[in-house]
């Protein structure tokens, strides 16, 4: 029974969806304030979702209808499943097994993969180009992001998220692995296609990128998935690098502080072209985090 509640109501299910919308609002509001705008009201993401769900979903000609229908569902399901393995709201993860870190990261990538497929599924030229860019970007940030989250796993001696979080609760790993923290944070921005990594959905070039043909229900589900992924990603970074999220207060304070930083970065930068994104990750991000990762392995193997 408690497993069902964890799945459907709390901390997964409804609560994680609401948290996703809340964090999306916070992000939008912060960026707006940085840009000297007023920004949306607190219930705006919820209102958008309700409105989109109430609208007709137009299935364009030339798509595989089943795929078109099922991709948003898989994307949202992936993100929500990932939420069950991380300490959201400062509680212990609902489910846990050895190596669940890898499974969680895979679940998070599922959203991006589904968006890529969704774009490639349609005949729309903006969607096709957006899908290409989405997948290109996936291949650039994914490896460094993974390495950045494996750093804490190496020092904690476990690939189980709850074990790493327990270890990190006594160690502020941002002090010993600053590169990992920065790469994880920026990798999260790349994952969520936030500016300056929003080339895949650059509206002045390719309208809405891979999701151009989505309307109504599909669009709402993809948006919800992104919100959930934002919460999960922030939780992971806060739990691993910022001294853990042992209680709800620590969870909200730490994740919102990170989100404040993310919003600042979003407001500060100009959009990168897709080849600039790839260059940035492989020339600097991947190399730096790899060097740190090797140093950690050497330290753990010989010194400690």
């Amino acid at each position: 029974m408690s497993a069902v509640i964890a799945l459907v109501i709390f901390p997964g299910g409804v609560c994680i969806l609401l948290a996703g919308m809340l964090y999306e609002w916070f992000d939008r509001k912060l960026v707006a304030r940085f840009q000297d705008r007023i920004g949306p009201r607190w219930f705006q993401p919820l209102a958008d979702t309700v409105k989109l769900l109430a609208k007709e979903e137009v299935v364009p000609d030339g798509v595989n209808g089943q795929l078109f229908f099922v991709l948003p569902v898989i994307a949202l399901a992936g993100a929500m499943t990932a939420a069950l393995y991380v300490p959201v709201f400062g509680l212990a993860p609902s489910f846990s097994f050895s190596g669940d870190l890898i499974a969680t990261i895979y679940m998070l990538s599922l959203l991006t993969l589904c968006m890529g497929l969704a774009g490639a599924n349609t005949l729309n030229r903006f969607s096709l180009l957006g899908a290409t860019r989405t997948l290109t970007q996936l291949f650039s940030y994914e490896a460094p992001f993974l390495l950045a989250l494996l750093g804490p796993a190496i020092v904690a001696g476990s690939w189980r998220i709850s074990a790493i979080a327990d270890y990190a609760a006594d160690h502020w790993l941002i002090l010993t692995q600053p590169i990992g923290f920065a790469v994880a944070l920026i990798g999260l921005m790349g994952k969520l296609e936030l500016p300056p990594f929003d080339a895949p959905e650059a509206e002045t070039e390719i309208v809405a990128g891979a999701l151009t043909e989505y309307s109504g229900r599909g669009l709402a589900l993809f948006h919800l998935g992104k919100g959930v992924e934002l919460v999960v990603g922030l939780t992971l970074v806060a739990a691993f690098y910022l001294g853990g999220v042992a209680n709800p207060l620590a969870f909200f304070v730490k994740t919102l502080v990170i989100l404040l930083g993310l919003a600042g970065l979003q407001a500060l930068f100009t959009r990168l072209r897709i080849e600039q994104t790839v260059g940035l990750w492989w020339r600097y991000g991947a190399l730096l985090v790899l060097v740190q990762f090797l140093a950690l392995i050497v330290w753990e193997g010989w010194v400690a």
Binding site: R125, L129, R273
Partner: protein, 392 residues
């Protein structure tokens, strides 16, 4: 996906988030690289030139002012100067100075608007929002001075409508102080923000030769080192009394277009201060005849986007026989197609915005002739019938 050898064409427009007005671009791309570009204009043809022929000289002024929502004052200035020349009348010096004053205030708001739009195309919304916030300052000044935020109607045939008093002078001086401070900041941003420079430096380079060959005008030409500014080359209104310094750059890339426009803002502030410090006393208008004697003239002014050209012909009645307008977007548009090839698709919005296009200003009727040189024209009845059948 296209078969081998087929082109993959990305259509931008007529409805597209990058375009604030309808135009249709087709970019063939190889991956992300643009291999050719084509353009179709004419979606917002409004028949204003024809419209002037059914109105008298005064009514046409207010119609022509609505050609452009951003640089409306220069249109009215060009028209007034032309008609006054035809009538053999000259507006008083104070009126000429106020014409230049409003023209320069309008240049501030146009350049700040462009700065925001261009930054938005690059995905730099911070600069977009901040420059538009600061643009409100000059909009408020214009509203306080003329009564309108856009389409100020400061001009009348034979002079200007509104006089400036000490209170407005103070407001303008104060507003300029704030704007100048902000403009220093913007100059710093567009010349030193590394992420932004990655999107502008070395992108869309147009050499001086190409710029001259394409007949490019305005800040776009000046960014390529072409010394071309009607305010300097052929001073009109009060620009001989308050000379303007020509701003040019040599790089010819997008960064240079940003720098030229931002530096022109400083020059504009200086000119406005000079006008306010040394405003001639006197009348605001002279009497204009209702019928303009027969003749034809051209009138050139420097719009924020470049040279604006008016041809006006009178047949001695109270109505213009022909008013022909060439807005600066038309000569600049060719440069977009030339520069597009070899750049990435992501640079297209920036290159297009680099010329500060204004589609509805430049849309004209085009007569297409077939190979035998025959043009087929539709009468009003044909058009009406076509409309009825199409939308039945």
């Amino acid at each position: 996906m296209p078969a081998k050898g087929e082109k993959f064409i990305i259509p931008i427009g007529p409805q597209h988030p990058a375009l604030k007005e309808p135009g249709h671009f087709e970019f063939s791309v190889d991956g992300e690289m643009v291999t050719s570009a084509s353009l179709r204009l004419g979606y917002v043809h409004r028949g204003i030139e024809k419209g002037t022929e059914g109105r008298n000289w005064v009514q046409a002024l207010y119609l022509l002012e609505r050609i452009c929502g951003i640089c409306s004052h220069v249109h009215a200035t060009a028209y007034c100067l032309g008609v006054e020349r035809l009538a053999g009348v000259e507006a008083p010096p104070r009126a000429q100075a106020i014409r230049s004053l409003v023209g320069e205030l309008e240049r501030i708001h146009s350049h700040l608007l462009w700065l925001g739009v261009a930054a938005h195309e690059a995905g730099f919304d911070m600069l977009f929002m901040h420059s538009w916030r600061d643009r409100e300052v000059v909009m408020n000044l214009l509203e306080g001075f003329t009564g309108n935020r856009v389409n100020y109607s400061a001009n009348v045939l034979g002079g200007v409508k509104c006089d400036i008093d000490a209170r407005q002078t103070d407001a303008i001086v104060k507003g300029l102080e704030y704007l100048e401070d902000r403009t220093h900041h913007y100059l710093e941003v567009v010349t030193s923000d590394i992420m932004f420079l990655r999107r502008t430096r070395g992108i869309g380079v147009m050499t001086k030769d190409v710029a001259e060959k394409l007949g490019v005008v305005g800040p776009t030409a000046r960014a390529s080192g072409v010394a071309r500014d009607v305010r300097v080359n052929a001073p009109y209104a009060a620009y001989d009394r308050y000379p303007v310094k020509l701003i040019t750059a040599t790089a010819g890339d997008l960064e240079a277009r940003f720098i030229v426009r931002v530096q022109e803002l400083f020059e504009t502030y200086r000119v406005i201060r000079a006008i306010l410090a040394d405003l001639p006393e006197g009348e605001l208008t002279v009497r204009m005849p209702r019928r303009i004697k027969e003749g034809e003239t051209i009138s050139r002014v420097e719009a924020p986007r470049g040279e604006l050209f008016y041809f006006i012909k009178s047949n001695g009645s109270d109505t213009a026989e022909r008013v022909k307008v060439r807005t600066p977007t038309l000569p600049n548009m060719a440069s977009v197609l030339t520069l597009a090839v070899g750049h990435q698709l992501a640079d297209m919005p920036m290159i297009l915005t680099g010329i500060d296009p204004c589609f509805s200003c430049n849309d004209r009727m085009i007569v297409v002739r077939d190979e035998a040189g025959q043009a087929s024209a539709w009468t009003w009845d044909d058009l009406r019938q076509y409309g009825i059948e199409t939308y039945r």
